[in-house]
Symmetry: C2
Subunit: 295 residues, 2 copies
């Protein structure tokens, strides 16, 4: 299987499991369930859950054991997209080339669909905890706790992203937002897979370093796409960052400067995985995929 | 100690623990932390966490063991208040006699403060899980899972409360909203305390019946207060339900009819606890307190 096939296989597996999860009998709150499905099944790249599964598979083969945590991080991510898009926050009308949740439904529905997805994440993990072997519970409660801490940072990052909009911020402040809002989730994804698979401390450090670097790469690439991406591919307007005078890697280092940092950091991420040999090929390719993606 | 003193002792204990929890070092997201504290420490009755502690004390004395779950349910409750008050949902300006969170701060801050409080609830429980004895973990993961399911229902209830506003709804629909949005949380509070204390199935059934009845009583009393309460005591406008043609117990059964049901259901709640003898005095008084409260 080449990288693209493997990526699609992971995506299909995640989509199938998400579909299963949100399939509910008809109920009075039907429209709320539709709003949840609209965003959750709305064509995301599934990068975060793929990181969980692929990192788990660095160490173990029984991939189904990592599925609940893969779903949880994707649900969390979709919750944050819905709330970030709200009129009171970023006020975005389009996401993945379609109307945002509050545009398609309404604001109340979008707020509550976000809340519900947030809770789904904890439900998925708690279901797994209930059905775990005693010897797994230490690792899994550790993951749950790390999850809650990362979410806390993600919300703080989103808050500052809104709070500081339209004013010049320092490179240090930019880093603080990105680390909290974006990188921390990619790091969590990788760490969940690794901790679940019961890897060693040294192995955990390696994959954590990899995750930190692709997290940074991801954000830099986002900033580059926001500046020069293709609107029709990206599915959202381009050039808004500049219009809003948002502080980004491009505004700080220029377009070429940002590209150079991206290239350097991607190489560093990949070399963190050398110790794992061939088994790490997919995660290495994933780093290049993040560098070269056009959406 | 009489009932009032005991109630205040519980409230003080909860407030002290919440203060401890939200005390954070100075950070760039200072204002977000202030918004969280503004609502969380804004003078709630602490009914839900008191139910956790008092039910736990029906069976065991080491009350500190139930504190994380008491905090979690109060954090959850405050998250739901902030989000329900948002312009996109109930659009309320006043809560506990003070400006609502989005009025005091702004909409983005309120949405994110709500999200953060929601997450605090899971963080408090996950911290406790991490530091639990292996033999407690079965009970505690069961509680966590039940918590996620109740939240799911709470969000669905709030959704329908908004969705169905301004149209005539049936008594059955009214019941569906109340059970999901309000009663389920009181029931969860009581059950968390009981399950934590490792009570028997029979004892759990008894306190669950009690909880179902006070949950219903709580909602009926809310509807009565919304109709004839004292605005200055209640801290929110009176008569809005009628104006919005909201379906309530008062609109369904009339003011006197609602009061009769409230009285009957409170007596039934109290009698569920007879089997526990004197130890249940506080919970019995609490049922009367719910019936007779003026805010």
């Amino acid at each position: 299987m080449n990288f693209k096939e493997e990526l699609e296989k992971y995506q299909q597996q995640i989509n199938k499991e998400l579909e299963k999860y949100i399939k509910k009998p008809k109920s009075p709150e039907e429209t709320l369930n539709q709003a949840i499905a609209y965003t959750l099944m709305g064509g995301g790249k599934r990068l975060r859950p793929i990181l969980v599964l692929a990192t788990y598979q660095l160490f173990k083969q029984d991939i189904e054991k990592s599925i609940p945590y893969a779903l949880a991080i994707e649900m969390l991510h979709n919750f944050s997209l819905i709330h970030d898009d709200l009129p009171g926050i970023d006020n975005d009308d389009v996401r993945h080339g379609k109307p945002t949740n509050h545009k398609k439904f309404n604001e109340a529905t979008a707020i509550l669909a976000g809340d519900a997805l947030f809770n789904f994440a904890y439900n998925a993990m708690s279901e797994d905890l209930m059905h775990s072997q005693p010897e797994e519970l230490n690792r899994k409660t550790k993951i749950l706790n790390e999850f809650t801490k990362v979410v806390d940072r993600m919300i703080a990052g989103e808050y500052l992203d809104t709070e500081w909009e339209g004013r010049k911020i320092t490179a240090e402040e930019l880093k603080y937002i990105h680390e909290n809002k974006t990188s921390s989730l990619l790091k969590l994804s990788v760490r969940m897979g690794a901790i679940l698979a019961n890897c060693t401390e040294e192995e955990l450090n390696k994959v954590t370093n990899y995750a930190n670097k692709i997290g940074l790469a991801f954000q830099i690439k986002d900033d580059i796409l926001s500046e020069e991406g293709d609107e029709s591919v990206l599915g959202k307007p381009v050039g808004n960052d500049k219009k809003l005078e948002k502080c980004t890697y491009v505004s700080q280092y220029g377009l070429q400067g940002a590209k150079d940092i991206l290239n350097q950091i991607t190489k560093e991420a990949v070399s963190e995985l050398d110790t794992f040999g061939e088994k790490a090929d997919f995660l290495k390719e994933l780093a290049f995929y993040i560098e070269n993606r056009n959406k």
